[in-house]
Amino acid sequence: MKKREPISTGSEWTFDLINRYDQEIARIAASYNLETYPNQIEVISAEQMMDAYSSVGMPVGYHHWSFGKQFLETDKNYRRGRMGLAYEIVINSNPCIAYLMEENTMAMQALVIAHAAYGHNSFFKCNYLFRTWTNADAIIDYLLFAKNYVTHCEQRYGEEQVELVLDSCHALMNYGVDRYKRPYRLSLAKEEARQKEREEYLQLQVNELWRKTIPLASRGAVEDAEQRFPSEPQENLLYFIEKNAPLLEPWQRELVRIVRKIAQYFYPQRQTQVMNEGWATFWHYTILNRLYDEGLVTDGFIMEFLQSHTNVVYQPSFDHPGYSGINPYALGFTMMSDIRRICENPTEEDKRWFPDLANTDWVKSLDFAMRNFKDESFIAQYLSPKVIRDLKLFAVLDDDSRKDLEITAIHDDQGYQSVRQMLSDQYNLGNREPNIQVYNVNRRGDRSLTLRHYQHNRRPLGDSTDEILRHLARLWGFTVRMETEHEDGSVETTHELVVGEL
């Protein structure tokens, strides 16, 4: 390959250089068939990065104290030098917004462009979860709508009132997502028009619930009492509250909806941490190395890049003081690189484990993996014995009925399958969070709401449950209780909050 002049030699960046690097990176990305939204790269200062940080990556956010808390914490840690700011924040929108921090060197800016503006960007555009659940064209508009709506409510009903509702919604945010039902798409204009309609309509719906909860002696009382409401347990607590809480005002329902929508928007990101970061890391690594091979960057550049790259994918072992679980960058990057290896240079073992993958076009196979999986299924499908050996993964069983922990599998022939299965389960959000569903509303009596926790492996609820119930009761307005259904089918009421205690 003919050597070319490097694009730049110093570490300082300029807008001109950013454009030139971007062109080269885009060219390489296109040669690997990366499909991306158009990019909008924004250069910001460290303070602005902290702002972006504390609004959980939403470019436009409504006001809430918890973001202020986040900001103070980030600010403090940054000032004391306890943490560097993340290199990048990237927003799943169309055009895809990526932030570059002005303090960074040219090499770092190029790394971020490759990582965020091409890696994450293509993941957002192509992965099935993002395609199904998020609408990159409309998200900025929606966030703007949400911000304006919240401000409007604050002016009309007071900041305190709005804050109470938002606090409670945030507490239940993780239970504000539809895991299975498919969503429909809306634009800002439609959203605003429909919001008014919805307000009136929802109130009518609730009135329906009200009517039924007022005891009427003449109606078929027995039949009515036996039917649960909702007739099937519902997983989306916030949705249920938005539609059915008897005492909420229309604007409060809209706030519940806003939090729920935002939770839903972030849900795919929570389910694809390993894949998303792995994918972006794999591509910045591949693209920048290609730049180096083509002679477009200097030795100094590639050394600086490799150093940050190595830090990013560092996985401390379990007994290291800095260990805090598996590093999604490390696992993701290792697996993505491993898929390429299996496609290009499969061993006998790989051929046994991945007959469909060995000796195929790695670009296509990797693209397929990125599009059609989430962490849980991705690990179940692609975690190879080699990766298990390289990372020396092992499984520990923690059973509180036994005195000791037990090592149940390690990186050997008998262990590969179970390690792979358990790691996949570990990334299943359904296992990580307690399974809680709306079970019943007492329509004939005190209108109390019952949630049911379907227990798995005897794991109890955490100590914040009372607090959560307080938030739930604030939204529901009547007594709420939490039942636990044990694996043997027995049910006990574990927490209850009788309204009046509020």
Partner: protein, 420 residues
């Protein structure tokens, strides 16, 4: 496809509102931290920000999660010696499966700490004292600065060019650069004159001489009339508005009847006065005088924290103050402020003496004298005597204080005077 946007000029305080919200929400905790901070601070650092610590349980945002217990499988990296079937003792009791290392579940128990900015701190400081907004802004305002001329610089903007200086510079440069050539020119011309007297005009060395003269003339002409190098710009620097100096006397009764709470109230009072003075004066000296039966000049630490017992003779402090003024703070050079805090107890015979001292020797020297009586009992005789002083001097303020919120009225007069 790609658009690069420079957003650095956009406002950076996007989170300011959220920060305010946070502070409002945790007002009570922060207020507690602020009043603790005041107790621990010296009067002169009342103006810094403050680290505030809030127990993390108060500000946690709960989410539903699993508690410890039950059965769970965990995958960890970095296996070294384990094989299948090994048993390992559970680290840290009921903790999570964490291999052989202590669990790090201790995180989250740390308190949440953050820094309150100076403005936020003062906001809380004032809030307790129930100052009206106008006064608050007056106190919180930063020093005004004045731009004054300070010579000339070689760099600046065109509007600041000083023409005379620049041209003077150009002239001297021209003289300096041209003079060697001029001297040579003079010599050559003389030589030429002499040569022409003896030789013909077309003699080769005469021609050469002529050429040299031509060349020198050109050289001289080539020195530019004005060069960038000559430019001088008016220089202006910012300087604090010159104000005179002030001295603040803090007088406090430290007899047995003044308990720590009363001292804290007086401390607030002194701080406020100090803050007020820093707004108006560049340099402030603090003099602490404490007294029981005899008065003593002490440092701040001793002033607030040492305990004395015994009776009370207020006049001793006034005498000492008068003496210090005479010795070190002539009233022609110094603005003298005094603040006296006491619980009002005094020996009956001493009170008239205090009155006379104040009226005849102290009050004529001071700008302002504030007396606060910290008590919930009936007024003591000192109060009645001081009323006489008040009649004569409008710049004498006295106030009975039961809690910190009563401090402000003492200042009203002071600010009124300031506004006039």
């Amino acid at each position: 496809m790609t658009q690069v946007i420079d957003r650095r000029l956009n406002g950076k305080n996007k989170s300011a509102v959220n920060r305010q919200r946070f502070i409002r929400r945790f007002k009570s905790q922060i207020r507690r931290a602020v009043s603790d901070a005041i107790a621990g601070r010296s009067i002169t650092d009342v103006e810094q920000g403050e680290n505030v610590r809030i127990p993390s349980k108060d500000i946690s945002e709960p989410v539903i999660h699993h508690g410890p217990g039950g059965k769970r499988d965990m995958i960890h990296p970095g296996n070294k010696e384990f094989v299948k079937g090994d048993r390992v003792p559970r680290p840290g009791g009921q903790g999570k499966g964490r291999g052989s290392k202590a669990s790090n579940s201790g995180e989250g128990e740390d308190d949440f700490t953050f820094e309150l900015s100076r403005d936020e701190f003062l906001e809380f400081f004032f809030e307790d004292l129930e100052l009206p907004d106008l006064v608050k802004t007056k106190l919180a305002k930063l020093e005004s600065q004045k731009t004054v001329r300070a010579g000339y610089t070689t760099a600046g903007i065109p509007t600041n060019i000083n023409v005379i200086r620049s041209l003077k510079g150009a002239l001297s440069r021209r003289i300096a650069l041209q003079s060697p050539y001029k001297k040579q020119l003079q010599d050559k011309e003389r030589e030429l004159e002499d040569a022409l007297k003896l030789h013909g005009e077309y003699e080769p060395f005469v021609v050469e001489l002529k050429n040299e003269i031509k060349f020198l003339r050109k050289k001289i002409k080539a020195v530019p009339f004005i060069d960038e190098f000559d430019l001088r710009y008016n220089n202006r620097v910012k300087r604090q508005v010159p104000t005179t100096q002030a001295v603040m006397f803090c007088l406090m009764d430290v007899s047995g009847s003044m308990d720590q709470e009363k001292k804290d109230i007086s401390k607030r009072f002194f701080m406020l006065l100090y803050l007020f003075l820093t707004r108006n004066y560049e340099k402030i000296d603090l003099v602490f005088i404490r007294h029981h039966t005899i008065a003593l000049e002490v440092d701040e630490e001793d002033f607030f924290y040492s305990r004395e017992t015994g009776g009370t003779v207020v006049s001793s402090a006034l005498e000492l103050m008068h003496q210090i003024i005479e010795e070190r703070y002539p009233s022609s050079d110094w603005n003298i402020y005094a603040a006296q805090a006491s619980d009002g107890d005094n020996w009956n015979d001493d009170s008239p003496l205090c009155r006379d001292l104040l009226r005849d020797s102290v009050m004529p020297l001071v700008q302002y004298y504030a007396y606060i009586e910290i008590t919930t009992d009936v007024h003591q005789n000192l109060w009645h005597e001081y009323l006489n002083v008040k009649k004569k001097y409008p710049n004498f303020a006295m106030q009975r204080i039961e809690g910190v919120q009563d401090i402000y009225p003492v200042f009203r007069k002071l600010f009124k005077k300031q506004a006039a």
